[in-house]
């Protein structure tokens, strides 16, 4: 029986013995973390601070009104009702109505503004996290599931949001009532007050005991939500494959596991967190009993009156209620901190650094030099992806990258666009190492047509315009025509204003590629990177856009990955890659006459 309770759903509790017997220094480190997290949130309050003071003042007012109401009622009873003389009672009643109105209005206003402040803070937190994400290097995203990151943007921030809405006012008003009642109690009977105050150290100890557990559990809970989110996002966006392979049972099973983790973490977090108000209640009731018992005995020898005991039991109740509220708030604050910590941990990731040594406005010519460049993906176990690659491409030249899949062709392009930085060697553009060039300057000159065309959930023209935000409608149509996309766009239900849905099931893969080519056409770059840009396009259409592509490549330094000889033939330089190394370089003619690897590749292809 006990075992079943200790291990609900047949799982071991999450907390291990070590978690609970952590050394002191660990604890202070944790306190440090909370402090810095709270401080970071406080910083986000920023210009709202003045308004926050107004809110606090209103809390003061509403608390005062809340006390004034019962006082006036007592006054009415004592002064008018008991003596049965109603003269003047109307005026006091009017005053009472004023107090009630004041109370309600100040209550509403404080919440009205507090919600505004809280949501403004949340808004700032969200947009900062987002713009920070924009500045993180590509390698950061390679390591993470999309859904997991999305969870930080929604689920984690939402916990902070709901806490911020209410906790601040609650905490402040609790402290206010607490001090108020303590003062009144002290004046009535210092001894009984001390007895009541006994519960404070007890409360401290028990809250320590609980938060030691909930702190970790809430973190686990948020982590479990993140992982679940990651799994959901991946399987839903890959739904077609799930269906094609009838893997519904498998993903359901995986989902069950992840969901189970969340249930377990959530269960323990909520159970322990649920102890807090109960412990408070107990201490409260206990002190109630002590006050009654000890007070009763004291009353026997006449050192306190019955009236004082009655008042005290009532006050000790009033005294512990705000404490109770505080304790409850403490708990939601804890879960919010767990969420906030996850958000800030992303904010602490190092951004792509830009050393501003290069003139941003400078127009590049487009001479590209790779000088003994080596590169390996972070955390990769596969050794060098690019090893000791050197070559020079002159201004306006077209370079074709060929080689087996996985030879490192795409990586060369990604290095040039500085999605990753080379581990060894140097890449220079117009004699300036690109590592010293602000990414903005660099990328402004580059248009990259990626292997997997991506379209946003937006209209066709917005998708094309992504290459040049201020492009006119004519330019958009011009680019679409150049990419041979105009024809099919015109057939779409709303033409250029057709909204492409996320999955893009409305248009084919080849059409997506046409649109991404149009996007590159409109960008008018100095350097053009085409990574399998036409792989899903039929050859007839390809021939039609070939001309546009050639026009696009003319006068620009271009790098092309393609398997079609047609494209390679026209290149000024062919680079043959093999397992990360550059094995041959030259024009197609040279390579064929050298009878090296490229020549063999060609002849094998004809088999």
């Amino acid at each position: 029986m006990f075992d079943a309770i200790r291990r609900p759903f047949g799982h071991e509790p999450i907390l291990t013995k070590e978690d609970l017997t952590k050394k002191k220094d660990k604890k202070s480190e944790r306190a440090q973390n909370w402090k810095s997290t709270l401080l970071k949130i406080w910083k986000l309050v920023d210009e709202q601070r003045l308004l926050l003071i107004v809110v606090l003042a209103l809390v003061f007012v509403s608390s005062a009104m809340a006390l004034l109401g019962p006082y006036l009622i007592g006054f009415i009873i004592d002064e008018y009702i008991v003596p049965q003389s109603f003269a003047g009672m109307g005026i006091v009643v009017l005053w009472l109505i004023v107090v009630y109105i004041g109370h309600s209005v100040s209550l509403y206003l404080q919440n009205f503004w507090m919600v505004g402040i809280a949501q403004q803070v949340i808004y700032r937190l969200r947009t900062r996290l987002f713009s920070h994400l924009q500045r993180l290097p590509v390698s950061f995203f390679d390591k993470r599931q999309h859904g997991e990151l999305m969870s930080r943007m929604t689920n984690d921030i939402e916990t902070v949001s709901s806490t911020l809405n209410t906790s601040f006012i609650q905490v402040f008003s609790s402290i206010l009532t607490l001090t108020g009642t303590a003062v009144v109690m002290l004046t009535l009977s210092p001894l009984l007050t001390l007895l009541t105050l006994i519960i404070i150290p007890l409360m401290y100890v028990s809250i320590q005991w609980i938060t030691k557990r909930t702190g970790k559990l809430y973190k686990e809970q948020q982590k479990a939500i993140g992982e679940l989110n990651g799994m959901i996002e991946e399987t839903i966006s890959g739904q077609k494959i799930v269906k094609a392979f009838s893997q519904e049972p498998r993903v359901m099973e995986e989902f069950r596991e992840k969901s189970e983790n969340l249930r377990l973490a959530g269960f323990w977090a909520w159970t322990y967190a649920g102890f807090i108000p109960k412990v408070m209640n107990f201490l409260n009731n206990g002190s109630f009993a002590i006050v009654a018992g000890v007070g009763g005995i004291l009353a026997l020898n006449g050192s306190v009156t019955i009236g004082v005991i009655v008042i005290f039991t009532e006050y000790s109740r009033q005294f512990t209620r705000p404490l109770n509220d505080l304790a409850n708030q403490f708990n939601t604050v804890l879960s919010a901190i767990a969420g906030a910590e996850r958000v800030f941990s992303i904010m602490d990731e190092t951004e792509e650094k830009d050393d501003q040594v290069f003139n941003v406005e400078k127009k590049l010519e487009g001479e590209v030099v790779f000088d003994r460049v080596s590169f390996k993906y972070e955390g990769s176990e596969e050794g060098w992806t690019i090893r000791d690659v050197s070559f020079t491409v002159g201004i306006g030249q077209t370079t074709a990258l060929v080689g087996a899949t996985g030879a490192g062709k795409t990586t060369i392009m990604q290095l040039l666009a500085r999605f990753y930085d080379a581990n060894e060697g140097e890449i220079r553009l117009d004699d300036t190492p690109i590592a010293e060039m602000p990414r903005e300057t660099l990328r402004k000159q580059i248009a990259f047509v990626l292997q997997d065309p991506f379209l946003f959930e937006a209209t066709v023209s917005e998708n094309i315009r992504y290459g040049k935000l201020d492009a006119t409608d004519e330019e958009v149509i011009e680019a679409a025509k150049g990419a041979n996309a105009h024809e099919f766009i015109a057939k779409l239900p709303e033409g250029y204003d057709t909204i492409l849905t996320g999955d893009g099931s409305m248009i084919s893969q080849g059409q997506k590629q046409l649109l991404s080519i149009a996007r590159a056409l409109i960008a008018d770059p100095v350097i053009l990177l085409l990574d399998e840009a036409t792989s899903s396009i039929d050859t007839v259409t390809e021939l039609k856009i070939q001309e546009a592509l050639e026009r696009l490549m003319a006068g620009r330094t271009s790098f092309v990955i393609a398997h079609r000889l047609n494209t390679i033939r026209k290149a000024d330089l062919v680079l043959v890659m093999e397992m990360g190394r550059l094995v041959e370089a030259g024009t197609q003619q040279q390579l064929i006459s050298e009878k090296g690897i490229y020549a063999t590749m060609l002849s094998e292809a004809k088999l």
């Binding site: 309600s104 929604t154 689920n155 269906k243 959530g266 109960k278 412990v279 026997l300 176990e381 398997h563």
Partner: protein
């Protein structure tokens, strides 16, 4: 809300226990004032120290009982609410898995993600709160009300007068809250969507330097979310002040009319004081009440969103319905098939008819957007033909059970989508139980075995989301291997060798030709098409030509054109 909360039924036991414990706690707490009264009356007044100590101990014992029931309640309430949300998530996710593809246009991924996490959490919270405090406030109100009536019905009546108004007000507010919190959740969907898009398109955004642009786009959406959240909360915050004001006014009414009543001799002062006391207690409970109303409204909005998914009537696939015997012969027939995507008007396929004997190989060619992929999607019933019949092994595909149908077909989609996990995990998607040898076998055929072996961890190399750490060609070959693992009698390849170099591609086709499977292959390359028994040429959704390479060369102008476009290359190669 009914459907959503029906998932709490299996946990009735936990719920009932939690409720009983909550009531026990409440009762014990209510007994305390009585005990105190006896301490005063029997102990202090009668100067009996033993009674005081005894009753003091009783008081202590009562608090221990309250404490224990509170702690145990915590356990049961957490258990019930977490298990409830676990089952709810399971049900919603299961429902989503049974959605047909068309449903995903109605429910985009981002919206489903919000539902499965944020919305479920909000609903779960309301159950948890319900088992812990929710009944407390209403009980306190009702209890005080009854006590007030016991004391003096006439005075208590003044207290009740405002109740209908307050209830009507609460009803309206809940309705409003549901609407506005529904908006908030919808905004959250949009936030999710933009973040998802940005994560998927990291490279594109960086390449075009659109970081700031995207941040602005996001700020707008986040701003909308802020606006709607603030609006929803501000509306809900009206509840408490109004409730308090209403209660306070009725309190005043009691006082005012009570005063005259006393003069007329209809009431005692003590009675008035008692009723005023009860009224104040009710007022205290009201602040909790407004909080409850708020989370209730929020949960209701969320449960409506969940029910949209749970109760979606159409658009479900039923795996087990239909003929379940194994499909052994991959005989494929299209009879006058036409197809229009749901929600559009223009048909994508028009009157397509052809027939494939088992183990025959068909190449499908045609311009970009001519309907090649759509045609392939009708076979595993991702979509159902609008007109005409697609049949397999002599039976309409809709008569086969989906599981059997899809088990028979090995699909290699255009975009080779891989999942987070090891290579071995990804390959074994093809089949439920596989032995390592089978994986290696399929990988050898797909020309990826050697590459995988070269990775330090071999088949246990981890693949990132969507296969980020692999090259395009590696992904394509893994995706082909995945389809081969299940030994399909029908193999569907949707232009899935585009990123392969010519040599690897050649070797791959050599292997594929050995496969005992009916093959439908979308390709751009004449060279690949020539390997097929028959070629189907599509033009704007119609069959433009159908036959062998030689036949098409003579009868189809379009085919000759395609051949010409590639012929040039062939000539070039000899230069």
């Amino acid at each position: 809300m009914k459907t959503v909360f029906s998932y709490a039924k299996p946990y009735k036991f936990y719920i009932v226990i939690a409720l009983i414990l909550m009531l026990l706690e409440l009762v014990v707490e209510l007994m305390q004032p009585l005990v105190i009264a006896s301490i005063i009356d029997k102990g202090i007044v009668e100067k009996d120290q033993d009674v005081i100590i005894q009753l003091g101990i009783v008081l202590m014992a009562l608090s221990v009982i309250a404490f224990i029931s509170g702690i145990v309640n915590s356990y049961f309430a957490a258990h019930a609410s977490q298990s409830f949300s676990f089952d709810l998530r399971q049900a919603v996710y299961g429902r989503i898995q049974s959605f047909s593809l068309a449903m995903f246009n109605k429910f985009p991924a981002s919206g489903l993600i919000t539902r499965l996490t944020s919305d479920v959490t909000l609903v779960q919270q309301v159950l948890y709160m319900g088992l812990r405090i929710m009944l407390r406030a209403p009980l306190l109100v009702v209890g005080s009300m009854i006590m007030a009536f016991v004391v003096n019905p006439k005075l208590a009546l003044y207290l009740v007068v405002v109740f209908p108004f307050l209830l009507a007000f609460l009803y309206i507010m809940v309705k409003k809250g549901v609407t506005y919190f529904g908006f908030v959740q919808k905004r959250l969907d949009r936030v999710n969507r933009i973040v998802q898009e940005n994560l998927q398109a990291v490279r594109l955004i960086k390449a075009y330097l659109r970081g700031k642009y995207e941040t602005n786009r996001f700020s707008e959406v986040a701003g909308d979310l802020k606006f709607d959240t603030v609006k929803a909360f501000r509306i809900m915050e009206i509840i408490l002040p109004i409730l308090l004001f209403g209660m306070n006014l009725s309190l005043l009414a009691v006082l005012w009319f009570g005063a005259f009543e006393i003069r007329a001799g209809g009431a005692q002062i003590g009675e008035l004081v008692a009723i005023v006391n009860y009224a104040m207690r009710m007022t205290g409970a009201f602040s909790m009440f407004s909080f409850i109303i708020m989370i209730f409204a929020r949960a209701k909005a969320s449960s409506e969103r969940l029910e949209e998914v749970l109760l979606a009537e159409d658009g479900h696939e039923q795996e087990d319905v239909g003929e379940d015997q194994p499909i052994r012969r991959g005989e494929v027939r299209f009879d006058n098939v036409s197809f229009t995507y749901p929600g559009t008007e223009e048909p994508v396929l028009k009157n397509i008819s052809f027939r494939l004997q088992p183990n025959e190989k068909l190449a499908i060619m045609g311009a970009t957007g001519s309907g090649k992929t759509t045609l392939l999607q009708l076979l595993p019933r991702f979509y159902d033909a609008t007109d005409g019949v697609v049949s397999l092994h002599g039976r309409d595909v809709s008569e086969w059970s989906l599981r059997e149908l899809r088990k028979t077909i090995g699909i290699v989609p255009q975009q080779s989508l891989l999942f987070t996990g090891t290579i071995s995990n990804n390959l074994s998607w093809g089949k439920d139980e596989v032995i390592q040898d089978e994986l290696a076998d399929a990988a050898i055929k797909a020309q990826i075995h050697e590459t995988v072996e070269r990775f330090p961890k071999g088949y246990y190399t981890r693949v990132g989301q969507k296969g980020v750490n692999l090259s395009g060609g590696q992904k394509q070959r893994l995706s082909i291997a995945r389809a081969l693992v299940r030994n399909p009698s029908i193999l569907v390849l949707d232009d899935s060798t585009s990123a392969l170099d010519v040599k690897t591609e050649g070797a791959l086709w050599e292997e594929l030709e050995q496969e005992q499977a009916t093959m439908l292959v979308v390709t751009q390359k004449i060279r690949t098409a020539m390997r097929a028994d028959r070629i189907l040429l599509l033009e704007e959704g119609r069959i433009s030509s159908y036959g062998t390479h030689e036949q098409l060369m003579t009868k189809s102008e379009l085919y000759r054109q395609i051949a010409m476009s590639q012929q040039e290359e062939e000539v070039d190669e000899y230069v």
